[in-house]
């Protein structure tokens, strides 16, 4: 049986259970999603965009799914205590793929009109609002993993910022994976930022320390309306037995400004897709990310920025540090459509292979159909600068420390992109700890226990 067939069979046998524990808005897309899954299947290594991550093998194990929404005994505050210190956030939790309603900020902490909480519940309470956006950005035809997520996702997180509302405090969502058997979760995030509104969301992924395998599928849709400003930080600090397949879809209105920063501090196998479309002119996107991978870990990023209209500006920078036998891949596609004049699109992917066994694949793809644009791309794969290493050692800095400083320096410009000072400081600490090898497990959960 192919990897995908077990999901198709599961869906047909549990269709009612899935629907009963979700909302009509989410249920409405399931049949189409499964039909797509049946006709197209999951991506394989033969698909050009998936050559570096064997999606089928990630989906092949017989994972448990919590379709009946059985409560998982957990106190998220206990699992996740230190979060980002000195950063006061509005904190929410999703445990596996269920929103954790018992722990969330008091309603009065949010500006009026802002909705934040369980996607399933919000879809029941505000069906028209959610239906206007749910599944509208996440193109199921993109690849089978999006279709599969749409077929099975029952809950997740919903954030709605009405027109003109500025949420000063960063909003933080902590995803926790926990299970006693090999486990699959299908999470869904839906974010709507109204005209002229502003917000910042930090999403952290943590895995419980256990020997079971996790597969986390996450689809995140972000709608940023005209003149709005939105920051999306995605930080993974999971475990070596966690596989994550995540897609982020961004739609941007005119003059909007969006920052997406995807950081992989610790993981098993991570495949991230970032799709972004400019729907209105004079919008700006900063898409960046970094990853530190070692041992047998793997990180694979695909980005697609669609300059559909003129006068938009995108700036892309991804940096990876690979050690031991780690694998990395970056494929960045930028499409400047016919008539999208005065586009500015810059892409950079820089990678450091700190060991001879580490491997990095990088592939910039610029497709330009307009003639009055400024675009550039640069991809590098290199080793640590031996001259710099010797220089530092000659000043008494031990080799291991010198290597650490150089690797840290390498990732620094991605951290510099963060527009939240407290998070920036925290990230520096986390990255330094990671390079010192102190973060064998996720420190957010473990260090403070």
């Amino acid at each position: 049986m192919s990897a995908v067939q077990q999901y198709i069979d599961l869906y047909h046998s549990q269709q009612n259970l899935i629907a009963d524990h979700s909302s009509p808005v989410m249920n409405a897309l399931r049949d189409e999603a499964v039909a797509l899954l049946e006709s197209r299947g999951l991506p394989t290594l033969k698909d050009e965009e998936f050559r570096r991550t064997d999606i089928e093998s990630l989906y092949a194990p017989d994972y448990g799914l919590n379709l009946g929404r059985v409560n998982i005994e957990i106190n998220p505050y206990e699992v996740f205590r230190c979060d980002v210190p000195n950063l006061s956030t509005l904190l929410y939790f999703v445990v596996n793929d269920t929103f954790y309603a018992q722990a969330q900020p008091a309603a009065g902490k949010l500006p009026e009109g802002v909705l934040a909480g369980s996607l399933c519940e919000m879809a029941k309470q505000y069906p028209q609002l959610v239906a206007r956006y749910y599944g509208r950005a996440a193109d199921m035809k993109r690849d089978g993993t999006v279709a599969l997520n749409t077929a099975f996702a029952q809950d997740g997180f919903f954030l709605y910022i009405p027109d003109g509302v500025v949420v000063e405090k960063p909003i933080q969502l902590v995803n926790i994976l926990r299970g006693n058997v090999d486990f699959m979760v299908n999470r869904r995030l839906l974010i709507v930022v109204g005209k002229g509104a502003q917000a910042k969301l930090l999403v952290c992924d943590h895995s419980d320390e256990s020997s079971v395998r996790f597969l986390a599928s996450q689809v995140c849709e972000i709608f940023v309306d005209d003149d709005a400003v939105f920051d999306y930080y995605d930080m993974e600090e999971s475990s070596e037995n966690t596989a994550k397949v995540a897609s982020v879809f961004v739609r941007q209105g005119a003059r909007s400004n969006v920052l997406v920063n995807g950081i992989v501090l610790h993981n098993g196998v991570t495949r991230s897709n970032y799709y972004s479309t400019f729907d209105g002119e004079h919008a700006e996107l900063s898409l960046c990310g970094m990853g530190i991978v070692d041992k047998e870990q793997s990180v694979d990023t695909y980005t697609f920025i669609d300059h559909a209209v003129s006068h938009c500006h995108s700036n892309e920078l991804f940096k990876y540090v690979l050690n031991d036998s780690a694998r990395g891949s970056f494929c960045g596609r930028i499409l400047v459509r016919h008539g999208a004049q005065k586009t500015e699109a810059y892409q950079g992917n820089k990678n450091l292979c700190a060991s001879p066994q580490a491997k990095m694949y990088t592939k910039p793809q610029l497709e330009i159909y307009a003639d009055d644009v400024k675009c550039s791309h640069g991809a590098t794969v290199g080793q640590l600068d031996q001259n710099a290493l010797f220089y530092m050692r000659s000043r008494g800095i031990p080799e291991a420390e010198a290597r650490m400083l150089l690797m840290f320096a390498f990732t620094n410009d991605v951290i510099e992109q963060v527009r939240l000072d407290a998070l920036k400081d925290r990230l520096r600490q986390l990255v330094e700890k990671r390079f010192r090898g102190e973060l064998a497990k996720c420190s957010g959960c473990q260090a403070c226990r």
Binding site: Y391, M392, S394, P398
Partner: protein, 251 residues
Amino acid sequence: MLKITDLHASINGKEILKGINLVVKPGEVHAIMGPNGSGKSTLSAVLTGHPAYEVTRGSVEFYGKDLLALSPEDRSHEGLFLSFQYPVEIPGVSMVNFMRTAVNEQRKYRGLEPLSATDFLKLMREKRAIVELDNKLASRSVNEGFSGGEKKRNEIFQMAMLEPRLSILDETDSGLDIDALRIVAGGVNKLKSEKNATIVITHYQRLLDYIAPDFVHVLYKGRIVKSGGPELALELEERGYDWIKKELGEI
């Protein structure tokens, strides 16, 4: 303090140093001169432990210790310092962080507690003044975007911070204008004491006008072929190296 005996070293199988003998005592300033390609920079690289060079024969004693058995970082901790001919730019590593790590690693080696942030910044300020290094440079990445003169001043600043027992100045005068040369040489002289020693590697007499050597050695084809007092440098300036080649019977 330093005793080099019959030192042979090669890079990629090519022998560059072919039997160097040199003794340096505390308080002394030695100048090593010689034509291009004679092995001057190789000598400094070998002494500081550059991994590209292989020592094939001979020994180097530093205060009784086998210097060649030590890692580059431990040679530094023992009090050896090289002012690089081409200081390396390290983007993303701030001078402050770099220097604090270096100073504290040295203290750790000597069994001392790390300096507090305040004490460290005070020390930086004090030492910066010796070479008139701008505070702005101290907060930037190591050598990144520094002019030639600033890089060399930064080397001497690091020397001041680490207080070595033996400093090797490798072509510290190259790329310096007169003013920068005076500042750099002034810094070196301020740091001079009876307890430490300096090896000045240079092409020209010019630097030796500012840093007065006690001994001058001529390095040629991997060997010290002539040694003398300060007057030897003046003679070289006047007559070039050909007369030495003649003495060796090469011309």
